[in-house]
């Protein structure tokens, strides 16, 4: 009986159209690489450890409940929230990888990206400043 309600909720969510803000993937201004969707996915899933030309890639994440994160998971990680968590749980608890560090908010994200040429992150496209370079929009 307990599970009837979640089941109905699950059905509702499956059919509900959802609207998201536009997502901007940002890197340091010194980073001139062009990154396509597949490569971005590899960076954020820890599969690619560096940029195509040179240098280490350090992806950052936003808090779980951040409104733009849903767009990020759908378009960049291409995993549902639960799949993304399970993916990292598998790597983390078997010593094979650590998930991207989570920064507090978009302001912190912009600041870190603008200061460190290795870092790659994402923000709502409306929050982008001149201190960073946008490599992709979704």
């Amino acid at each position: 009986m307990k599970f009837i309600k979640p089941m109905l909720l699950a059905l509702m969510f499956a059919w509900m159209p959802q609207a998201f803000g536009e997502l901007a993937i940002i890197v340091n201004k010194s980073n001139a690489d062009n990154l396509d969707a597949d490569y971005l996915q590899m960076i954020f899933l820890g599969k690619a450890k560096g940029y195509p030309s040179a240098g280490k890639a350090v992806p950052l994440d936003l808090p779980e409940d951040h409104p733009i994160r849903e767009t990020f998971l759908k378009n960049v990680a291409r995993k549902s929230k639960a799949q993304y968590t399970a993916y990292w749980a598998k790597l983390m608890f078997t010593g094979k990888g650590v998930p991207p560090k989570i920064v507090d908010d978009e302001k912190a994200m912009l600041e870190l990206v603008s200061k460190n040429p290795s870092i790659i992150g994402y923000v709502d496209a409306s929050k982008v400043t001149g201190d960073v370079r946008v490599v992709a929009k979704f």
């Binding site: 307990k2 599970f3 979640p6 089941m7 909720l9 699950a10 059905l11 509702m12 969510f13 499956a14 597949d38 996915q41 590899m42 599969k47 690619a48 450890k49 560096g50 779980e64 929230k81 639960a82 993304y84 968590t85 399970a86 749980a89 598998k90 983390m92 608890f93 078997t94 010593g95 094979k96 650590v98 560090k101």
Partner: protein, 366 residues
């Protein structure tokens, strides 16, 4: 054992000390609270390696467990990890499940040294992490190996071609399972006693372990195969004493294919000279819910005079997982086991160990 434990507690404490204001240290954890009860039949072995057995009274103390992990990045190449697990059926006593250093030789190649999981099954390395799979438990029939960890070295090679990853692992070392809980239980003189403490003592030693695993992970297809061999030495002390030694060979193959919201998983293993087992699972995800239908079978090679295996059973499970959030899930499951050999619970030879069990769990990570 005590030394290992003291060392790891020291190690954890040291890491905890270091972690103060140091972002190179990560602490994470996971847990599962599992409640189960036999609805029909006598008892059900839900977890063979750790001997989790349910009877006809609801029980939260068979499969519930908590894991705590600390990972320290020492340099770009070197990291150290320790994972402690407390199991309800072991009085929540914390035990070191993993303790190793990881050295990256280059971007694709890393060497791990220490206490590691024997990576023979697809889910070997995270079978305790309930949040990472759909079922309440990894299929018990197919995940029954009594030894889950080894001390040694593992070389991992990971390569990516587009979205496809190729992982090869080569591992070597040794494992011991002194007073093996599972084997001592199975060889007990008083088999009807489901509390599992009995008269038998079984020690098992695996030396010269040498194994290789290969995994291909594509967007919607996962394939893994592994082969492991080792020198094996076993002593059973009961009203009789029996010794056995020889070479064991373990072969496992896993495949998963996703079809949109549906997925099919198949895993088969052959443990020479002891048994073979498999599972097949059909999963369907709808929003935050995943429904599964699982079938598994265990068959011991040794047979009685009529050719019937001493232990043989197959299981059908129907269940559901619902994600409350990305890091918390609840699950419910009905499992029916059909016993066609000597029952693992009471050793009765005429296959009367049929059992139906209901379980529910809360799985989380942090």
């Amino acid at each position: 054992m005590t030394l290992t434990k003291s060392l790891s507690i020291f190690f954890l404490a040291m890491l905890a000390g270091l972690s103060h204001g140091n972002d190179m240290i990560r602490m994470s954890g996971y847990g599962s609270v599992v409640l189960g009860q036999v609805m029909d039949g006598s008892a059900y072995v839900a977890d063979y390696p750790n001997l989790g057995i349910y009877d006809d009274e609801w029980d939260i103390g068979q499969e519930s467990r908590f894991g705590l992990q600390m990972n320290a990045t020492i340099s770009d190449e070197l990291s150290a990890t320790v994972q402690m697990v407390s199991r309800a059926n072991n009085d929540y006593e914390a035990q070191v499940e993993w303790m190793f250093v990881n050295y990256a030789l280059n971007d694709d190649l890393e060497l791990q040294a220490g206490k590691l999981r024997v990576p023979v099954y697809y889910y070997s390395e995270y079978m305790d992490v309930g949040i990472a799979y759909p079922w309440i438990r990894v299929p018990a029939d197919a995940y029954s190996l009594d030894v889950t960890s080894f001390n040694g070295l593992q070389l991992n090679h990971r390569m990516f071609m587009g979205n496809t990853s190729f992982t090869t692992a080569i591992f070597t070392g040794r494992a011991k399972n002194e007073n093996s809980e599972l084997m001592s239980y199975l060889f007990d003189n008083d088999p009807g006693d489901v509390t599992g403490t009995g008269s038998a003592n079984v020690d098992r030693y695996f030396t010269n372990i040498l194994g290789v695993g290969f995994e291909v992970n594509m967007d919607s297809t996962i394939f893994k195969v592994s082969y492991t061999q080792a020198d094996f030495d076993e002593t059973i002390v009961n009203s009789f004493t029996a010794e056995a030694d020889g070479t064991i060979k373990f072969m496992d193959i896993f495949i998963q294919q996703n079809f949109g919201p549906m997925s099919v998983m198949l895993e088969y293993n052959d443990y020479d000279p002891f048994y073979s087992s498999y599972f097949a699972s059909f999963n369907y995800t709808l929003g935050q819910a995943t429904y599964y239908l699982m079938h598994s079978k265990f068959e011991l090679d040794a047979t009685d005079g009529t050719g019937t295996p001493f232990e043989e059973h197959d299981t059908n499970a129907l269940g559901m997982r619902y994600n409350l959030s990305a890091k918390v899930a609840v699950k419910a499951d009905i499992t029916m086991m059909t016993d066609t050999g000597a029952s693992p619970v009471n050793r009765d030879p005429d296959g009367d160990g049929d059992v139906t069990i209901f379980s529910t769990s809360l799985d989380f990570m942090f």
